[in-house]
Amino acid sequence: MIEARSLTKVFSDRTKGEIRGADSVSFRVQPGSIYGLLGANGAGKTTTLRLLATILKPTSGTAIVAGFDVVRDPDRVRKNVGFLATSTALYARLTAREMIAYFGRLNGLAEPALRARIQTLADELEMHEFLDRRIDKLSTGMKQKTSIARTLVHDPQVMIFDEPTLGLDVMAARSIIRFVRECRSRGKTVIYSTHVMGEAEKLCDVIGVIHGGALRAEGTLAELRARTGETDLEECFVRIIQPEVPG
Protein backbone atom coordinates (compact mmCIF):
# COMPACT_ATOMS: atom_id res chain seq x y z
CA MET A 1 0.00 0.00 0.00
CA ILE A 2 1.01 3.62 -0.53
CA GLU A 3 -0.15 6.41 1.72
CA ALA A 4 1.09 9.93 1.01
CA ARG A 5 0.61 12.27 3.97
CA SER A 6 0.93 15.97 3.11
CA LEU A 7 4.00 15.31 1.00
CA THR A 8 5.72 18.61 0.28
CA LYS A 9 8.87 19.35 -1.64
CA VAL A 10 10.22 22.87 -2.00
CA PHE A 11 13.05 23.57 -4.41
CA SER A 12 14.94 26.82 -4.27
CA ASP A 13 15.83 28.36 -7.58
CA ARG A 14 18.17 31.34 -7.94
CA THR A 15 16.00 33.11 -10.50
CA LYS A 16 12.51 31.85 -9.70
CA GLY A 17 12.84 31.71 -5.92
CA GLU A 18 10.99 28.93 -4.12
CA ILE A 19 9.22 26.32 -6.25
CA ARG A 20 6.77 23.90 -4.68
CA GLY A 21 7.35 20.68 -6.62
CA ALA A 22 4.84 18.88 -4.42
CA ASP A 23 2.47 20.85 -2.25
CA SER A 24 0.89 18.94 0.60
CA VAL A 25 0.02 15.94 -1.55
CA SER A 26 -2.06 13.26 0.20
CA PHE A 27 -3.55 10.12 -1.31
CA ARG A 28 -3.82 6.41 -0.72
CA VAL A 29 -3.27 3.50 -3.14
CA GLN A 30 -4.56 0.04 -2.28
CA PRO A 31 -2.81 -3.21 -3.27
CA GLY A 32 -4.17 -4.67 -6.50
CA SER A 33 -5.11 -1.26 -7.89
CA ILE A 34 -3.62 1.33 -10.20
CA TYR A 35 -3.57 4.96 -9.10
CA GLY A 36 -3.12 7.35 -11.99
CA LEU A 37 -1.34 10.63 -11.38
CA LEU A 38 -2.53 12.82 -14.21
CA GLY A 39 -0.93 16.17 -14.88
CA ALA A 40 0.65 18.40 -17.48
CA ASN A 41 4.42 18.69 -17.85
CA GLY A 42 5.88 20.34 -14.76
CA ALA A 43 2.73 19.68 -12.70
CA GLY A 44 4.66 17.80 -9.99
CA LYS A 45 4.15 14.16 -11.05
CA THR A 46 7.83 13.24 -11.20
CA THR A 47 8.62 15.05 -7.95
CA THR A 48 5.81 13.21 -6.15
CA LEU A 49 6.91 9.84 -7.50
CA ARG A 50 10.57 10.53 -6.70
CA LEU A 51 9.50 11.34 -3.14
CA LEU A 52 7.65 8.02 -2.93
CA ALA A 53 10.67 6.18 -4.32
CA THR A 54 12.91 8.05 -1.78
CA ILE A 55 15.07 9.44 -4.55
CA LEU A 56 14.16 12.86 -3.13
CA LYS A 57 13.62 13.76 0.53
CA PRO A 58 10.40 15.58 1.38
CA THR A 59 10.67 19.10 2.82
CA SER A 60 7.71 18.24 5.03
CA GLY A 61 5.11 15.51 5.29
CA THR A 62 5.83 11.88 4.67
CA ALA A 63 4.55 8.74 2.99
CA ILE A 64 4.21 5.13 3.99
CA VAL A 65 5.23 2.79 1.20
CA ALA A 66 4.87 -0.98 1.65
CA GLY A 67 4.68 -0.36 5.38
CA PHE A 68 7.83 1.75 5.65
CA ASP A 69 8.21 5.48 6.18
CA VAL A 70 9.98 7.26 3.30
CA VAL A 71 11.69 9.67 5.70
CA ARG A 72 12.71 7.27 8.45
CA ASP A 73 13.34 4.11 6.48
CA PRO A 74 14.21 5.01 2.88
CA ASP A 75 16.47 1.98 2.23
CA ARG A 76 13.68 -0.45 3.17
CA VAL A 77 11.20 1.49 1.07
CA ARG A 78 13.46 1.10 -1.98
CA LYS A 79 13.76 -2.64 -1.30
CA ASN A 80 10.01 -2.90 -1.77
CA VAL A 81 9.62 -0.58 -4.72
CA GLY A 82 10.09 -1.05 -8.45
CA PHE A 83 10.60 2.28 -10.19
CA LEU A 84 10.31 2.58 -13.94
CA ALA A 85 10.58 5.83 -15.85
CA THR A 86 11.92 7.03 -19.16
CA SER A 87 14.66 8.71 -17.12
CA THR A 88 15.76 5.39 -15.58
CA ALA A 89 18.09 4.24 -18.30
CA LEU A 90 20.17 1.08 -18.64
CA TYR A 91 23.95 0.61 -18.62
CA ALA A 92 24.83 0.32 -22.28
CA ARG A 93 28.02 -1.70 -21.81
CA LEU A 94 26.42 -4.39 -19.64
CA THR A 95 24.46 -7.33 -21.01
CA ALA A 96 20.77 -7.63 -20.15
CA ARG A 97 21.61 -10.46 -17.73
CA GLU A 98 24.33 -8.44 -16.01
CA MET A 99 21.99 -5.45 -15.67
CA ILE A 100 19.26 -7.52 -14.00
CA ALA A 101 21.79 -9.35 -11.80
CA TYR A 102 23.34 -6.03 -10.69
CA PHE A 103 20.03 -4.77 -9.32
CA GLY A 104 19.22 -8.20 -7.90
CA ARG A 105 22.44 -8.14 -5.90
CA LEU A 106 21.83 -4.58 -4.71
CA ASN A 107 18.44 -5.79 -3.52
CA GLY A 108 20.15 -8.48 -1.47
CA LEU A 109 19.27 -11.55 -3.55
CA ALA A 110 21.63 -14.48 -2.97
CA GLU A 111 23.30 -15.92 -6.08
CA PRO A 112 21.22 -19.14 -6.46
CA ALA A 113 17.98 -17.23 -5.92
CA LEU A 114 19.14 -14.54 -8.32
CA ARG A 115 19.93 -17.06 -11.06
CA ALA A 116 16.50 -18.65 -10.65
CA ARG A 117 14.80 -15.26 -10.66
CA ILE A 118 16.56 -14.18 -13.86
CA GLN A 119 15.50 -17.45 -15.46
CA THR A 120 11.87 -16.86 -14.45
CA LEU A 121 11.88 -13.27 -15.71
CA ALA A 122 13.55 -14.27 -18.98
CA ASP A 123 10.83 -16.91 -19.46
CA GLU A 124 7.98 -14.53 -18.66
CA LEU A 125 9.31 -11.66 -20.75
CA GLU A 126 10.73 -13.84 -23.54
CA MET A 127 14.24 -12.50 -23.10
CA HIS A 128 16.37 -15.62 -23.69
CA GLU A 129 17.34 -14.62 -27.21
CA PHE A 130 19.10 -11.44 -26.08
CA LEU A 131 19.83 -12.05 -22.40
CA ASP A 132 23.60 -12.18 -22.96
CA ARG A 133 23.76 -9.44 -25.54
CA ARG A 134 25.11 -5.99 -24.66
CA ILE A 135 22.38 -3.45 -24.02
CA ASP A 136 23.74 -0.98 -26.57
CA LYS A 137 23.08 -3.64 -29.23
CA LEU A 138 19.43 -4.17 -28.25
CA SER A 139 16.31 -2.81 -29.93
CA THR A 140 14.00 -0.42 -28.05
CA GLY A 141 11.58 -3.25 -27.29
CA MET A 142 14.35 -5.45 -25.92
CA LYS A 143 15.58 -2.57 -23.78
CA GLN A 144 12.06 -2.07 -22.44
CA LYS A 145 11.87 -5.71 -21.43
CA THR A 146 15.26 -5.42 -19.73
CA SER A 147 14.06 -2.35 -17.82
CA ILE A 148 10.93 -4.20 -16.74
CA ALA A 149 13.01 -7.18 -15.59
CA ARG A 150 15.28 -4.79 -13.69
CA THR A 151 12.32 -3.33 -11.78
CA LEU A 152 10.85 -6.77 -11.05
CA VAL A 153 14.00 -8.67 -10.11
CA HIS A 154 13.36 -8.29 -6.36
CA ASP A 155 9.60 -8.87 -6.77
CA PRO A 156 8.55 -5.56 -5.16
CA GLN A 157 5.15 -5.02 -3.56
CA VAL A 158 4.88 -1.50 -4.95
CA MET A 159 5.39 -0.44 -8.55
CA ILE A 160 5.95 3.21 -9.49
CA PHE A 161 5.73 4.17 -13.15
CA ASP A 162 6.71 7.67 -14.19
CA GLU A 163 5.47 8.29 -17.74
CA PRO A 164 6.95 4.97 -18.84
CA THR A 165 5.59 5.15 -22.40
CA LEU A 166 7.02 8.59 -23.16
CA GLY A 167 8.79 8.53 -26.51
CA LEU A 168 8.00 4.86 -27.21
CA ASP A 169 6.41 3.56 -30.37
CA VAL A 170 2.93 2.02 -30.24
CA MET A 171 4.10 -1.57 -29.84
CA ALA A 172 6.59 -0.83 -27.08
CA ALA A 173 4.00 1.34 -25.29
CA ARG A 174 1.41 -1.46 -25.52
CA SER A 175 3.79 -3.94 -23.92
CA ILE A 176 4.34 -1.52 -21.04
CA ILE A 177 0.59 -1.07 -20.57
CA ARG A 178 0.14 -4.84 -20.57
CA PHE A 179 2.90 -5.17 -17.97
CA VAL A 180 1.28 -2.53 -15.72
CA ARG A 181 -2.00 -4.43 -15.85
CA GLU A 182 -0.22 -7.65 -14.96
CA CYS A 183 1.27 -5.95 -11.91
CA ARG A 184 -2.24 -5.08 -10.77
CA SER A 185 -3.51 -8.59 -11.36
CA ARG A 186 -0.63 -9.93 -9.24
CA GLY A 187 -1.86 -7.79 -6.36
CA LYS A 188 0.88 -5.16 -6.49
CA THR A 189 0.22 -1.58 -5.49
CA VAL A 190 0.69 0.49 -8.64
CA ILE A 191 1.05 4.22 -9.14
CA TYR A 192 1.24 5.44 -12.71
CA SER A 193 1.93 8.99 -13.84
CA THR A 194 0.99 10.23 -17.27
CA HIS A 195 -0.18 13.25 -19.19
CA VAL A 196 -1.84 11.04 -21.80
CA MET A 197 -5.58 10.99 -21.06
CA GLY A 198 -6.20 7.78 -23.00
CA GLU A 199 -3.68 5.86 -20.92
CA ALA A 200 -5.21 7.09 -17.66
CA GLU A 201 -8.67 6.21 -18.91
CA LYS A 202 -7.65 2.67 -19.96
CA LEU A 203 -5.49 1.80 -16.99
CA CYS A 204 -6.32 3.58 -13.78
CA ASP A 205 -8.77 2.59 -11.08
CA VAL A 206 -8.41 5.94 -9.35
CA ILE A 207 -7.11 9.14 -10.93
CA GLY A 208 -5.51 12.02 -9.06
CA VAL A 209 -5.23 15.28 -11.00
CA ILE A 210 -2.08 17.18 -10.05
CA HIS A 211 -1.36 20.77 -10.97
CA GLY A 212 1.18 23.27 -9.59
CA GLY A 213 2.44 20.57 -7.26
CA ALA A 214 -0.96 20.17 -5.55
CA LEU A 215 -3.52 17.41 -5.92
CA ARG A 216 -6.57 19.23 -7.31
CA ALA A 217 -9.02 16.34 -7.56
CA GLU A 218 -9.15 12.62 -6.98
CA GLY A 219 -11.60 9.84 -7.78
CA THR A 220 -12.63 7.16 -10.21
CA LEU A 221 -13.25 8.19 -13.79
CA ALA A 222 -16.97 8.20 -13.08
CA GLU A 223 -16.51 10.39 -10.02
CA LEU A 224 -14.41 12.91 -11.94
CA ARG A 225 -17.01 13.03 -14.72
CA ALA A 226 -19.77 13.59 -12.20
CA ARG A 227 -17.83 16.31 -10.44
CA THR A 228 -17.03 18.29 -13.58
CA GLY A 229 -20.10 17.51 -15.62
CA GLU A 230 -17.93 16.48 -18.56
CA THR A 231 -17.81 13.07 -20.20
CA ASP A 232 -14.44 13.35 -21.87
CA LEU A 233 -11.48 12.96 -19.48
CA GLU A 234 -9.54 15.71 -21.24
CA GLU A 235 -12.42 18.12 -20.60
CA CYS A 236 -12.64 16.91 -17.02
CA PHE A 237 -8.92 17.58 -16.62
CA VAL A 238 -9.15 21.12 -18.03
CA ARG A 239 -12.14 21.90 -15.82
CA ILE A 240 -10.21 20.76 -12.76
CA ILE A 241 -6.99 22.63 -13.40
CA GLN A 242 -8.60 25.77 -14.88
CA PRO A 243 -12.07 26.01 -13.32
CA GLU A 244 -12.55 29.61 -14.54
CA VAL A 245 -12.01 28.75 -18.23
CA PRO A 246 -15.33 28.24 -20.02
CA GLY A 247 -15.65 24.88 -21.75
Partner: protein, 406 residues
Protein backbone atom coordinates in the same frame (compact mmCIF):
# COMPACT_ATOMS: atom_id res chain seq x y z
CA UNK B 1 27.74 1.58 5.01
CA UNK B 2 27.08 -1.81 3.48
CA UNK B 3 30.19 -3.68 2.34
CA UNK B 4 28.23 -6.00 0.05
CA UNK B 5 26.64 -3.09 -1.79
CA UNK B 6 29.96 -1.24 -2.10
CA UNK B 7 31.61 -4.38 -3.51
CA UNK B 8 28.69 -4.93 -5.91
CA UNK B 9 28.83 -1.35 -7.17
CA UNK B 10 32.62 -1.45 -7.50
CA UNK B 11 32.54 -4.77 -9.38
CA UNK B 12 29.93 -3.44 -11.79
CA UNK B 13 31.83 -0.19 -12.36
CA UNK B 14 35.04 -2.13 -12.97
CA UNK B 15 33.35 -4.40 -15.51
CA UNK B 16 31.73 -1.42 -17.20
CA UNK B 17 34.99 0.56 -17.32
CA UNK B 18 37.04 -2.35 -18.65
CA UNK B 19 34.62 -2.50 -21.58
CA UNK B 20 35.10 1.19 -22.29
CA UNK B 21 37.87 1.70 -24.83
CA UNK B 22 38.41 5.36 -23.93
CA UNK B 23 38.88 4.50 -20.26
CA UNK B 24 41.36 1.76 -21.13
CA UNK B 25 43.37 4.20 -23.22
CA UNK B 26 43.67 6.69 -20.35
CA UNK B 27 44.23 4.04 -17.67
CA UNK B 28 46.53 1.57 -19.43
CA UNK B 29 47.70 2.47 -22.93
CA UNK B 30 48.95 6.02 -22.35
CA UNK B 31 50.68 5.26 -19.02
CA UNK B 32 52.41 2.22 -20.56
CA UNK B 33 53.60 4.06 -23.62
CA UNK B 34 54.57 7.36 -22.03
CA UNK B 35 57.57 6.10 -20.02
CA UNK B 36 59.48 4.47 -22.89
CA UNK B 37 58.65 7.55 -24.94
CA UNK B 38 59.87 9.80 -22.16
CA UNK B 39 63.13 7.95 -21.72
CA UNK B 40 63.89 7.16 -25.31
CA UNK B 41 62.01 9.90 -27.02
CA UNK B 42 63.26 12.62 -24.72
CA UNK B 43 66.12 11.59 -22.45
CA UNK B 44 67.89 9.40 -24.98
CA UNK B 45 67.44 11.95 -27.73
CA UNK B 46 68.86 14.66 -25.47
CA UNK B 47 71.91 12.49 -24.74
CA UNK B 48 72.40 11.64 -28.38
CA UNK B 49 72.18 15.31 -29.33
CA UNK B 50 74.73 16.32 -26.68
CA UNK B 51 77.07 13.47 -27.62
CA UNK B 52 76.87 14.32 -31.30
CA UNK B 53 77.42 17.99 -30.58
CA UNK B 54 80.51 17.11 -28.57
CA UNK B 55 81.86 14.95 -31.40
CA UNK B 56 81.43 17.65 -34.00
CA UNK B 57 84.53 19.62 -35.05
CA UNK B 58 83.15 23.16 -35.03
CA UNK B 59 83.66 25.60 -37.84
CA UNK B 60 85.12 28.79 -36.35
CA UNK B 61 86.24 32.12 -37.76
CA UNK B 62 89.26 34.11 -36.71
CA UNK B 63 89.05 37.89 -36.74
CA UNK B 64 92.52 39.35 -37.16
CA UNK B 65 95.47 37.16 -36.25
CA UNK B 66 97.37 37.71 -39.51
CA UNK B 67 100.41 38.88 -37.51
CA UNK B 68 100.13 35.90 -35.13
CA UNK B 69 101.01 33.02 -37.47
CA UNK B 70 102.19 30.76 -34.64
CA UNK B 71 98.87 30.96 -32.79
CA UNK B 72 96.97 30.49 -36.04
CA UNK B 73 99.03 27.44 -36.95
CA UNK B 74 98.52 25.96 -33.51
CA UNK B 75 94.76 26.51 -33.76
CA UNK B 76 94.65 24.66 -37.07
CA UNK B 77 97.05 21.95 -35.91
CA UNK B 78 95.00 21.22 -32.79
CA UNK B 79 92.44 19.39 -34.94
CA UNK B 80 89.68 20.70 -32.68
CA UNK B 81 88.41 23.32 -35.11
CA UNK B 82 87.80 23.99 -38.76
CA UNK B 83 89.53 27.36 -38.86
CA UNK B 84 88.59 30.03 -41.38
CA UNK B 85 89.47 33.66 -41.72
CA UNK B 86 86.52 35.80 -40.76
CA UNK B 87 84.37 37.21 -43.51
CA UNK B 88 82.49 40.48 -43.11
CA UNK B 89 79.24 38.73 -42.21
CA UNK B 90 80.72 36.49 -39.47
CA UNK B 91 78.09 37.63 -36.95
CA UNK B 92 75.17 36.59 -39.16
CA UNK B 93 76.94 33.33 -40.01
CA UNK B 94 77.03 32.53 -36.26
CA UNK B 95 73.35 33.51 -35.94
CA UNK B 96 72.51 31.27 -38.90
CA UNK B 97 74.43 28.41 -37.24
CA UNK B 98 76.71 28.04 -40.26
CA UNK B 99 79.66 29.03 -38.09
CA UNK B 100 79.69 27.97 -34.43
CA UNK B 101 81.90 30.68 -32.92
CA UNK B 102 84.48 33.34 -33.69
CA UNK B 103 87.66 34.49 -31.96
CA UNK B 104 89.20 37.94 -32.25
CA UNK B 105 92.98 37.97 -32.02
CA UNK B 106 94.16 41.57 -31.58
CA UNK B 107 96.97 43.04 -33.68
CA UNK B 108 100.43 42.21 -32.39
CA UNK B 109 99.09 39.49 -30.09
CA UNK B 110 101.87 36.99 -30.69
CA UNK B 111 104.60 39.62 -30.35
CA UNK B 112 103.10 40.92 -27.13
CA UNK B 113 102.72 37.34 -25.90
CA UNK B 114 106.47 36.91 -26.18
CA UNK B 115 106.88 39.94 -23.90
CA UNK B 116 104.33 38.56 -21.43
CA UNK B 117 101.67 41.27 -21.75
CA UNK B 118 99.35 40.37 -24.62
CA UNK B 119 95.98 42.12 -25.03
CA UNK B 120 92.72 40.26 -24.42
CA UNK B 121 91.34 37.64 -26.77
CA UNK B 122 87.59 37.97 -27.43
CA UNK B 123 85.35 34.98 -28.07
CA UNK B 124 82.00 35.32 -29.84
CA UNK B 125 79.27 32.72 -29.54
CA UNK B 126 75.47 32.44 -29.74
CA UNK B 127 74.34 32.06 -26.15
CA UNK B 128 71.78 29.33 -25.56
CA UNK B 129 72.80 27.45 -28.69
CA UNK B 130 74.39 24.16 -27.65
CA UNK B 131 76.93 23.69 -30.46
CA UNK B 132 77.98 27.33 -30.41
CA UNK B 133 78.50 27.15 -26.65
CA UNK B 134 80.58 23.98 -26.98
CA UNK B 135 82.76 25.60 -29.70
CA UNK B 136 83.32 28.66 -27.49
CA UNK B 137 84.13 26.37 -24.55
CA UNK B 138 86.68 24.54 -26.68
CA UNK B 139 88.24 27.84 -27.82
CA UNK B 140 88.41 28.97 -24.21
CA UNK B 141 90.21 25.71 -23.36
CA UNK B 142 92.67 26.23 -26.21
CA UNK B 143 93.60 29.77 -25.13
CA UNK B 144 93.73 28.79 -21.44
CA UNK B 145 96.26 26.11 -22.34
CA UNK B 146 98.24 28.65 -24.42
CA UNK B 147 98.20 31.00 -21.41
CA UNK B 148 99.45 28.21 -19.11
CA UNK B 149 102.30 27.31 -21.45
CA UNK B 150 103.26 30.98 -21.94
CA UNK B 151 103.32 31.53 -18.18
CA UNK B 152 105.45 28.43 -17.67
CA UNK B 153 107.88 29.54 -20.42
CA UNK B 154 108.21 33.08 -19.03
CA UNK B 155 108.76 31.77 -15.49
CA UNK B 156 111.32 29.23 -16.71
CA UNK B 157 113.19 32.03 -18.52
CA UNK B 158 113.51 33.79 -15.17
CA UNK B 159 114.49 30.58 -13.42
CA UNK B 160 111.27 30.28 -11.49
CA UNK B 161 109.12 27.10 -11.18
CA UNK B 162 105.81 26.97 -13.06
CA UNK B 163 103.97 26.27 -9.79
CA UNK B 164 104.56 29.84 -8.66
CA UNK B 165 101.72 30.97 -10.94
CA UNK B 166 99.45 28.20 -9.63
CA UNK B 167 100.49 27.50 -6.06
CA UNK B 168 97.63 25.11 -5.41
CA UNK B 169 95.00 23.17 -7.32
CA UNK B 170 91.26 22.96 -6.59
CA UNK B 171 89.84 19.49 -7.06
CA UNK B 172 86.13 18.83 -7.35
CA UNK B 173 84.86 15.33 -6.55
CA UNK B 174 81.29 14.11 -6.87
CA UNK B 175 80.07 12.42 -3.68
CA UNK B 176 76.59 11.73 -5.00
CA UNK B 177 75.98 8.08 -5.82
CA UNK B 178 75.69 7.33 -9.52
CA UNK B 179 71.91 7.09 -9.19
CA UNK B 180 71.93 10.62 -7.73
CA UNK B 181 73.55 11.84 -10.91
CA UNK B 182 70.68 10.36 -12.83
CA UNK B 183 68.17 11.22 -10.12
CA UNK B 184 68.77 14.90 -10.62
CA UNK B 185 67.73 14.57 -14.20
CA UNK B 186 65.26 11.69 -14.41
CA UNK B 187 64.25 12.13 -10.76
CA UNK B 188 62.96 15.58 -11.61
CA UNK B 189 60.94 14.57 -14.61
CA UNK B 190 59.63 11.13 -13.56
CA UNK B 191 57.57 12.36 -10.55
CA UNK B 192 56.13 15.03 -12.81
CA UNK B 193 54.86 12.40 -15.24
CA UNK B 194 53.74 9.99 -12.51
CA UNK B 195 51.74 12.68 -10.70
CA UNK B 196 50.25 13.84 -13.97
CA UNK B 197 49.31 10.27 -14.96
CA UNK B 198 47.81 9.80 -11.50
CA UNK B 199 45.47 12.66 -12.41
CA UNK B 200 44.74 11.66 -16.00
CA UNK B 201 44.09 8.02 -15.03
CA UNK B 202 41.28 9.13 -12.72
CA UNK B 203 39.91 11.76 -15.07
CA UNK B 204 37.91 9.67 -17.48
CA UNK B 205 36.32 7.28 -14.94
CA UNK B 206 35.45 10.26 -12.70
CA UNK B 207 33.59 11.98 -15.51
CA UNK B 208 31.97 8.83 -16.82
CA UNK B 209 30.74 7.58 -13.45
CA UNK B 210 29.20 10.89 -12.37
CA UNK B 211 28.35 13.49 -15.01
CA UNK B 212 28.28 10.76 -17.68
CA UNK B 213 25.72 8.75 -15.70
CA UNK B 214 23.59 11.84 -15.11
CA UNK B 215 23.67 12.52 -18.82
CA UNK B 216 22.74 8.97 -19.80
CA UNK B 217 20.01 8.69 -17.14
CA UNK B 218 21.55 5.71 -15.36
CA UNK B 219 22.18 7.66 -12.16
CA UNK B 220 18.47 7.76 -11.37
CA UNK B 221 18.22 4.02 -12.03
CA UNK B 222 20.94 3.40 -9.48
CA UNK B 223 19.36 5.79 -6.97
CA UNK B 224 16.20 3.61 -7.10
CA UNK B 225 18.14 0.68 -5.69
CA UNK B 226 18.33 0.03 -1.93
CA UNK B 227 22.03 0.99 -1.91
CA UNK B 228 22.56 4.06 0.24
CA UNK B 229 24.13 7.21 -1.21
CA UNK B 230 27.28 6.53 0.81
CA UNK B 231 27.54 2.99 -0.62
CA UNK B 232 27.15 4.36 -4.12
CA UNK B 233 29.71 7.12 -3.70
CA UNK B 234 32.28 4.78 -2.11
CA UNK B 235 31.79 2.09 -4.77
CA UNK B 236 32.16 4.60 -7.57
CA UNK B 237 35.03 6.42 -5.89
CA UNK B 238 36.95 3.14 -5.58
CA UNK B 239 36.65 2.70 -9.33
CA UNK B 240 37.98 6.22 -9.96
CA UNK B 241 40.85 5.44 -7.59
CA UNK B 242 41.50 2.20 -9.47
CA UNK B 243 41.78 4.27 -12.65
CA UNK B 244 44.32 6.56 -11.05
CA UNK B 245 46.38 3.80 -9.44
CA UNK B 246 46.37 1.60 -12.51
CA UNK B 247 47.73 4.49 -14.57
CA UNK B 248 50.54 4.85 -12.01
CA UNK B 249 51.16 1.09 -11.81
CA UNK B 250 51.31 0.64 -15.56
CA UNK B 251 53.62 3.61 -15.97
CA UNK B 252 55.95 2.33 -13.22
CA UNK B 253 55.97 -1.21 -14.64
CA UNK B 254 56.69 0.27 -18.03
CA UNK B 255 59.42 2.49 -16.54
CA UNK B 256 61.08 -0.42 -14.71
CA UNK B 257 60.83 -2.62 -17.78
CA UNK B 258 62.23 0.06 -20.03
CA UNK B 259 65.19 0.78 -17.79
CA UNK B 260 65.99 -2.88 -17.16
CA UNK B 261 65.53 -3.85 -20.79
CA UNK B 262 67.76 -1.11 -22.09
CA UNK B 263 70.59 -1.59 -19.72
CA UNK B 264 72.24 1.35 -18.11
CA UNK B 265 69.64 1.90 -15.41
CA UNK B 266 70.85 -0.64 -12.91
CA UNK B 267 74.38 -1.00 -14.21
CA UNK B 268 77.20 -1.52 -11.64
CA UNK B 269 77.88 1.65 -9.71
CA UNK B 270 81.43 2.11 -10.99
CA UNK B 271 80.41 1.76 -14.58
CA UNK B 272 77.55 4.16 -14.13
CA UNK B 273 79.77 6.74 -12.44
CA UNK B 274 82.38 6.50 -15.18
CA UNK B 275 79.70 6.75 -17.81
CA UNK B 276 78.15 9.73 -16.02
CA UNK B 277 81.57 11.38 -15.79
CA UNK B 278 81.93 11.09 -19.57
CA UNK B 279 78.63 12.90 -19.74
CA UNK B 280 77.33 10.73 -22.50
CA UNK B 281 75.63 7.90 -20.64
CA UNK B 282 72.00 7.36 -19.74
CA UNK B 283 71.40 8.48 -16.15
CA UNK B 284 70.38 5.94 -13.51
CA UNK B 285 67.78 6.02 -10.74
CA UNK B 286 67.41 4.23 -7.44
CA UNK B 287 65.35 1.08 -7.92
CA UNK B 288 63.90 1.32 -4.38
CA UNK B 289 62.90 4.88 -5.20
CA UNK B 290 60.31 3.50 -7.62
CA UNK B 291 58.60 1.66 -4.73
CA UNK B 292 58.88 4.74 -2.57
CA UNK B 293 57.30 6.77 -5.33
CA UNK B 294 54.42 4.30 -5.55
CA UNK B 295 53.81 4.49 -1.79
CA UNK B 296 53.88 8.28 -1.78
CA UNK B 297 51.64 8.57 -4.80
CA UNK B 298 48.88 6.42 -3.22
CA UNK B 299 47.41 9.23 -1.03
CA UNK B 300 47.78 11.63 -3.97
CA UNK B 301 45.71 9.24 -6.05
CA UNK B 302 43.01 9.30 -3.35
CA UNK B 303 43.17 13.10 -3.26
CA UNK B 304 42.94 13.48 -7.04
CA UNK B 305 40.20 10.84 -7.33
CA UNK B 306 38.08 12.51 -4.66
CA UNK B 307 38.55 15.99 -6.15
CA UNK B 308 37.84 14.81 -9.70
CA UNK B 309 34.83 12.86 -8.47
CA UNK B 310 33.37 15.90 -6.69
CA UNK B 311 34.04 18.27 -9.58
CA UNK B 312 32.58 15.88 -12.16
CA UNK B 313 29.60 15.12 -9.95
CA UNK B 314 28.73 18.78 -9.83
CA UNK B 315 28.76 19.04 -13.64
CA UNK B 316 25.61 18.54 -15.69
CA UNK B 317 27.40 16.71 -18.49
CA UNK B 318 30.76 15.23 -19.39
CA UNK B 319 31.51 18.32 -21.47
CA UNK B 320 30.85 20.60 -18.52
CA UNK B 321 32.99 18.33 -16.33
CA UNK B 322 35.84 18.63 -18.83
CA UNK B 323 35.69 22.41 -18.67
CA UNK B 324 35.92 22.26 -14.87
CA UNK B 325 38.76 19.76 -14.92
CA UNK B 326 40.95 21.76 -17.30
CA UNK B 327 41.93 24.43 -14.72
CA UNK B 328 42.48 21.63 -12.22
CA UNK B 329 45.07 20.16 -14.57
CA UNK B 330 47.02 23.41 -14.44
CA UNK B 331 46.74 23.43 -10.66
CA UNK B 332 48.60 20.10 -10.73
CA UNK B 333 51.09 20.88 -13.49
CA UNK B 334 52.34 24.15 -11.96
CA UNK B 335 53.52 22.72 -8.62
CA UNK B 336 54.95 19.73 -10.50
CA UNK B 337 57.03 22.05 -12.67
CA UNK B 338 58.07 24.03 -9.59
CA UNK B 339 59.32 20.76 -8.13
CA UNK B 340 61.51 20.24 -11.18
CA UNK B 341 63.16 23.65 -10.90
CA UNK B 342 66.75 23.52 -9.71
CA UNK B 343 67.37 25.05 -6.31
CA UNK B 344 63.95 24.33 -4.79
CA UNK B 345 64.78 22.31 -1.68
CA UNK B 346 62.33 20.37 0.45
CA UNK B 347 61.60 21.89 3.86
CA UNK B 348 58.83 21.42 6.43
CA UNK B 349 56.78 24.30 5.03
CA UNK B 350 56.92 22.98 1.47
CA UNK B 351 56.20 19.49 2.83
CA UNK B 352 52.66 20.73 3.51
CA UNK B 353 52.05 22.02 -0.02
CA UNK B 354 50.09 19.34 -1.89
CA UNK B 355 51.56 18.01 -5.14
CA UNK B 356 54.73 20.13 -4.84
CA UNK B 357 55.69 18.14 -1.72
CA UNK B 358 55.29 14.81 -3.52
CA UNK B 359 57.16 16.06 -6.54
CA UNK B 360 60.10 17.15 -4.37
CA UNK B 361 60.25 14.09 -2.14
CA UNK B 362 59.96 11.69 -5.07
CA UNK B 363 62.84 13.46 -6.78
CA UNK B 364 64.92 12.81 -3.65
CA UNK B 365 63.79 9.19 -3.36
CA UNK B 366 64.65 8.43 -6.97
CA UNK B 367 68.08 9.89 -6.23
CA UNK B 368 68.49 7.41 -3.37
CA UNK B 369 68.02 10.01 -0.61
CA UNK B 370 65.39 9.19 2.02
CA UNK B 371 64.39 12.03 4.38
CA UNK B 372 62.13 10.05 6.70
CA UNK B 373 60.90 13.13 8.60
CA UNK B 374 59.72 14.84 5.43
CA UNK B 375 58.32 11.59 4.06
CA UNK B 376 56.18 11.15 7.19
CA UNK B 377 54.91 14.74 7.10
CA UNK B 378 54.14 14.55 3.37
CA UNK B 379 52.40 11.19 3.59
CA UNK B 380 50.39 12.31 6.62
CA UNK B 381 49.36 15.69 5.24
CA UNK B 382 48.44 14.26 1.83
CA UNK B 383 46.39 11.49 3.48
CA UNK B 384 44.61 14.18 5.50
CA UNK B 385 43.83 16.27 2.40
CA UNK B 386 42.64 13.11 0.65
CA UNK B 387 40.30 12.22 3.52
CA UNK B 388 38.87 15.74 3.50
CA UNK B 389 38.33 15.61 -0.27
CA UNK B 390 36.59 12.24 0.04
CA UNK B 391 34.33 13.60 2.78
CA UNK B 392 33.38 16.47 0.46
CA UNK B 393 32.59 13.96 -2.31
CA UNK B 394 30.28 11.95 0.00
CA UNK B 395 28.57 15.15 1.17
CA UNK B 396 28.05 16.36 -2.38
CA UNK B 397 26.55 13.04 -3.42
CA UNK B 398 23.90 13.43 -0.74
CA UNK B 399 22.84 16.81 -2.07
CA UNK B 400 19.79 16.61 -4.33
CA UNK B 401 20.65 19.89 -6.07
CA UNK B 402 23.95 18.33 -7.16
CA UNK B 403 22.68 14.87 -8.09
CA UNK B 404 19.73 16.24 -10.05
CA UNK B 405 21.63 19.17 -11.55
CA UNK B 406 20.91 18.34 -15.18
Amino acid sequence: MNGHNIATIYAKELRDTVRDRRAMISMIVIPTVVMPLLIFGFAKTAFVIVSKAKEEIPRIMVIGGSDSPGVMAELEKSGKFKVETASKDWRSLISDKRVRAAVEIPDGFERALGEGSAPAITLYDYQGELKSGLAAERLDGFFSELRRRTTARLLAAKGLPASIARPFEVNQTNVAPPEKVGGNFLGGIIPYFIIFLCLTGAMYPAMDLTAGEKERGTMETLLCSPASRTDIVIGKFLMVLTGSLSAVMFSLISLGGTLVAFGSAFAPAGAAAKAAARGAAMPTIDFLGIFGLLAMVAPVAVLFSAILFSVSLFARSSKEAQSYIMPLTFAVIIPCIMGMLPGIELNYRLALVPVLNISLVCKEMLSGVWHWGYIAVIFGSTALYAAAALAVAVRLFRREDVIFRT
